[in-house]
């Protein structure tokens, strides 16, 4: 328990009998009590003793209780007060409370009534103080944040905007106060998001509903924000407003761009000389520069394989950086049919070399999807080439595509090695490869499925995997159909 200083109570009453009775009761209850016989004396004592509570009789000569409170509060606006009314005149008490008294006590009163009213007044004062601290704390927190913050009420009007956000928008927090979201923010999507947060029931909200990116300005001067919107609730759990927090991610985006450029430059610089060396090895191996013995040919073949795997890694890195930078191709309506045919054609040779069947089954008129054709084709190529790689000789691989229910479903299934349950999540991470006796000799970069996942996510699609070790794997990809 914390030790509290003795609380001080000032009693202002013209009847000495009442003053002394009150003093006795409250002193016994552990309070320090000061007495004043009229309003003028009371005001002097308020100044001198700074009481925590004033008990004041409403009916006094010269200066009545109301006037006393009025003058006292001018100097101490937060003064806690209880008025004492004679003859149980409730009207007077109500009026006093309207003007800011915290409670009233009707004469005649019993000692326990007095104690109870005083305790209640202190409790109320403590609550008010807590609320005021809480408010001040929230304001200080919001004002000192480096993120922009906007709070809207249930009507969508600005209840609070912090200086960071106001500065971004070229306004002051005061100018934003009370104005509708759409008038202060240049991003209708954020206002919509706030509106949804405020008007949807709590259980309907998912995190994704209210996250997004917006930008301010153009070109190199553009600033990018990650926006998170969240509702807040009243005591009955009804949303009464929402908060939007704007996190400046411009530096991250720039870093990401540098990373992509760096990776793509390095990958380029690797593929070019590799291409030359691989050509030289190929010519050597064919004996174009003189006959070779079998062991020499074999070693050259192995060297080529190793170099090819570096080249493939570089190509995958290049593709990934292009996909991340959004420069793989133009977004638009995409007909998957020709992409799938091309992907299957590309890999037919490899499947045939392993004696595998590679079938493509497509619905006659496949609905179009929205996206980047080059990226979606890359997804198909990666999934099919994985199926070819991880299915033993003579196996079966099927690619199926059909539309319906607002989505296009692409399925790539094989009767190959299958993926152990504990690996089924990890295989979508960059550079993760299932390593066991069966896969040891299968070359790969560990980037193929990471690319698939990235592309599917950026297309608003879903990716499912069903696999059983020894029986095979089925990757199912669902993409939303393009709007009419």
């Amino acid at each position: 328990m914390s030790i509290q200083p003795t609380r001080r109570i000032l009693v202002v009453d013209d009847e000495e009998r009442v003053r002394l009775a009150v003093q006795r009761v409250l002193t016994e209850a552990g309070y320090e009590v000061f007495l004043a016989a009229d309003g003028a004396e009371g005001l002097a004592m308020v100044q001198e003793h700074a009481p925590d509570l004033v008990l004041v009789d409403l009916m006094m000569p010269v200066m009545d209780g109301m006037e006393f409170l009025d003058q006292a509060r001018r100097r101490y606006p937060d003064l806690t007060s209880v008025v004492i009314t004679g003859f149980a005149t409730l009207e007077k008490a109500v009026e006093a409370m309207k003007q800011g008294a915290d409670d009233f006590l009707a004469k005649p009163f019993k000692p326990q009534d007095l104690r109870m009213v005083v305790e209640r007044a202190f409790r109320r004062a403590a609550t008010l103080q807590n609320i005021s601290i809480e408010k001040s704390r929230t304001r200080a927190l919001v004002a000192s944040m480096r993120n922009g913050v906007l709070v809207v009420d249930a009507a969508g009007e600005t209840a609070l905007a912090n200086p960071v956000l106001a500065r971004l928008l070229g306004l002051t927090p005061e100018q934003m106060q009370g104005r509708p979201c759409a008038e202060v923010l240049p991003w209708p999507a954020v206002c919509e998001c706030l509106d949804q947060a405020t008007h949807r029931r709590r259980e309907e909200l998912t995190q994704d509903d209210c996250r997004g990116q917006v930008s301010l300005g153009q070109g190199d001067d553009a600033t990018y924000f990650q926006v998170t919107c969240a509702p807040f609730y009243d005591a009955r759990r009804q949303p009464v407003g929402a908060v939007a927090v704007f996190d400046d991610i411009t530096a991250w985006r720039r870093l990401d761009q540098y990373k992509n450029e760096f990776v793509s430059t390095v990958a380029h610089e690797i593929v070019s000389p590799l291409s030359a060396v691989l050509g030289q090895l190929q010519n050597l191996g064919k004996g174009l520069l003189g006959p070779l013995e079998e062991p020499q040919k074999e070693l050259l073949g192995r060297a080529r394989e190793r170099l090819e795997s570096i080249a493939n890694l570089s190509k995958d890195l290049l593709d990934l950086s292009k996909i991340e930078a959004g420069v793989m191709g133009q977004a638009g309506r995409v007909d998957l049919a020709p992409l799938l045919r091309e992907a299957v054609d590309q890999l037919k040779g490899r499947a045939q070399a392993k004696g595998q069947s590679l079938e493509l089954e497509m619905q006659a008129k496949l609905p179009e999807v929205m996206g980047v054709g080059e990226e979606l084709q890359r997804v198909a190529v990666n999934l099919i080439s994985n199926a070819v790689k991880y299915t033993p000789d003579g196996g079966q691989i099927a690619v199926r595509a059909q539309g319906g229910d607002g989505e296009v479903v692409l399925e790539v299934s094989d009767n190959g090695l299958g993926i152990p349950a504990e690996e089924q999540e990890a295989i979508f991470q960059r550079f993760h490869r299932v390593k066991n006796a069966d896969t040891r000799h299968i070359p790969g970069t560990g980037l193929g499925l990471a690319i698939v996942k990235r592309v599917v996510e950026s297309h608003g699609g879903k990716l499912e995997l069903k696999s059983q070790v020894g029986e095979g794997s089925t990757f199912t990809l669902r993409l939303p159909v393009a709007p009419e």
Partner: protein, 127 residues
């Protein structure tokens, strides 16, 4: 057959040009060499090749520009062009959209690292 067919190989990497040439010559093609886009165009104008193998990333004039100039010239537009793309991707890249919005169509493309035999097959098909 490749007999008598003349192929021009344009790439700024001399080792690559040499490897490609050696393999094509072994298959009976006659091979000309150029080491950037400007040289390539000059060579094409002085002796018309049956097929051009053209690297995309080159100094002075890149492969897309050379391709665009060939395809835009009525007397040269029927020469088949195989692009060597270093952009390394499984995607179709015979067509390229320039900054001004113009599109160049090559006849074939092959991604680096180049499989010399696959390239030779393409050349034989187009020659």
């Amino acid at each position: 057959m490749a007999d008598g067919k003349y192929v021009l190989v344009v790439d700024d990497d001399p080792d690559l040009v040499e490897s490609v040439a050696m393999n094509l010559e072994a298959k009976g093609f006659e091979v000309g060499k150029a080491y950037d886009g400007v040289e390539g165009l000059e060579s094409i104008k002085s002796r018309r090749p049956d097929v051009v193998v053209l690297d995309v990333m080159m100094p002075r004039k890149d492969g897309y520009e050379v391709c665009a100039q060939l395809k835009g010239n009525s007397s040269l537009s029927d020469i088949p062009v195989i692009l060597l793309t270093a952009v390394g991707s499984a995607v179709n890249s015979t067509s390229y959209t320039h900054r001004d919005g113009m599109t160049t169509e090559a006849d074939e493309y092959i991604a680096k690292p180049v499989d010399l035999d696959q390239l030779a097959e393409l050349v034989a098909e187009l020659a």
